[in-house]
Amino acid sequence: MRYTLSETWSGIKSNISMTIAVIVTMWVSLSLFGAGLLAYQQVELMKGGWYDKIEISVFLCNADSTGDNCTPGEDVTEDEKAAIEQTLRENPEVAEVHHETKEEAFEEFQKAFAGTSMEGTVTVEQMQESYRIKLVDPEQYEGVVSAVVGMPGVQAVQDLREVLDRLFEWLGLLQWGTVIASALLLLAASLQIANTIRMAAFARRREIGIMRLVGASNFYIMLPFLLEALISALIGAALACGTLALGMQFLIRQKAQVLIQASPWIGWQHAGLAMGGVAIVAIALAIIPTLVATRRYLRV
């Protein structure tokens, strides 16, 4: 064991510039990978939070509204309303239907624009009646929208998800971008580890030759290289975890969370998951390239 440790140490020392290069590459790529994991969890969290809140709004015609399904100058009739409500309630995708009257809409408007120049610019009569719908599965909104969008008396169907989906599309792109960039960097890191270990094994090929000759086990021969790679990878992983913790504290908890309070934000438990992922990938990235790189020296 003493021999193994001293060999590991001398390997690291004689290869110090390569070891540092490996550590830095591991640090950057694992940080990016961890950030990707955090971003993924954040987007999932936001999807959950926002999808829960949003609903489909079916706006009904009033005297001022224009649209293919409205009779100009007239409010929606009671019959039309009943037909729309029935269609909604019979749809299996619909969990809840709430009818918002003109008065309620007016109150909402007054509340939303209180103290602004918009306050008092509209009357109760100008407001639109609407149905507010919650869905069983927030992802399945198209069926409900298409069921009511052409019905007489429906002025417009507003679905926030259409807006949000575009946002999430961009966020998804960002997620994948991070994952792909970090995968490329991790590939570079693993190749660098393989090269470092190959060089170290080449430098010690005399010793390895004698070890094989006198009957040292493959595991024993490989152990110093494995330890060398593991130490570099774990230092890189520790630095990456530190970077993630700093980012978490200063970017998320002190900036983003304060700035946008409406959105749910990832916490330390999510950061812990990401760091766990970083550690596992770091260990795999140390072991696999080392096994590949030393294989040709260990073939019996």
Partner: protein, 243 residues
């Protein structure tokens, strides 16, 4: 018998190396490097393996070490059927065989003691055992007072003695020497041969590949001769060439 020798792991009586109809053809080559070799080497024998370069001596030795596998036929070494020996048991086989080379293959930058101790360290022997066996073996090869010297400071003959000590420190039942006197002057060669003879008399089987006719003629041991991959002579108390 030298009082320090002994303790070489005794094998069951009978052969320690047996080739049965062994043929080895290297990949991509039409001519076989060894053809239909049948040979048995008994425990405690001293055997010379002679033949010109390219006659198949190296292939023969590498087959014993299981660095190569035969194309056909079977090889038994130290009670193991090498065709059935899984890779992970190859280190166990090699612990039964001490190996010496023409170019010594010592580790430069290490002392004589460390070079010999290395062979025990890397197979995980306890430090106590190393501390007793290494000086004992250095004493045996006549380097008892030179343990602290760097190997590159030694003469060729002394370096080969270090190599013998390293090969023998684990007391293997088989010692294989590949041209051990090839880089040494005749007087020094005699010293190395005396050392190998002593190790052999203490119960270790010695197989030595050589070009050195003087050495073979002096020793009068069994001679196996390979020529172009075929076994052309197996003679007890032989000499290098036919008389």
């Amino acid at each position: 018998m030298h009082p320090l020798i002994g303790g070489a792991a005794a094998l069951d009586s009978g052969h320690v190396i047996r080739f049965q109809d062994v043929t080895k053809t290297y990949e991509g080559q039409r001519r076989a490097a060894l053809r239909n070799i049948d040979v048995e080497i008994e425990a405690e024998e001293f055997v010379f393996l002679v033949g010109t370069s390219g006659s198949g001596k190296s292939t023969f030795l590498r087959l014993i070490l299981r660095e190569l596998r035969p194309s056909s036929g079977s090889i038994h070494v130290a009670g193991r059927d090498l065709n059935r020996l899984p890779s992970w048991k190859v280190p166990g086989l090699r612990r039964q065989i001490g190996m010496i080379f023409q170019d010594f293959r010592l580790l430069p930058g290490k002392t004589v003691y460390d070079n010999v101790a290395f062979a025990l360290q890397v197979i995980g022997r306890p430090r106590r055992e190393i501390r007793s066996k290494v000086p004992e073996t250095l004493e045996l090869v006549g380097l008892g007072s030179k343990g602290d010297r760097m190997v590159e400071e030694l003469s060729g003959g002394e370096q080969q003695r270090v190599a013998v000590a390293r090969a023998f420190v684990n007391r293997p039942p088989i010692l294989i020497a590949d041209e051990p006197t090839g880089n040494l002057d005749p007087a020094t060669s005699v010293g190395i041969m005396k050392l190998l003879d002593r190790i052999n008399r203490a119960g270790t089987t010695v197989l030595m590949a050589t070009h050195d006719s003087t050495v073979v003629d002096q020793m009068r041991k069994r001679v196996i001769e390979l020529d172009d991959g075929e076994l052309v002579r197996d003679q007890t108390k032989g000499v290098y060439g036919y008389q």
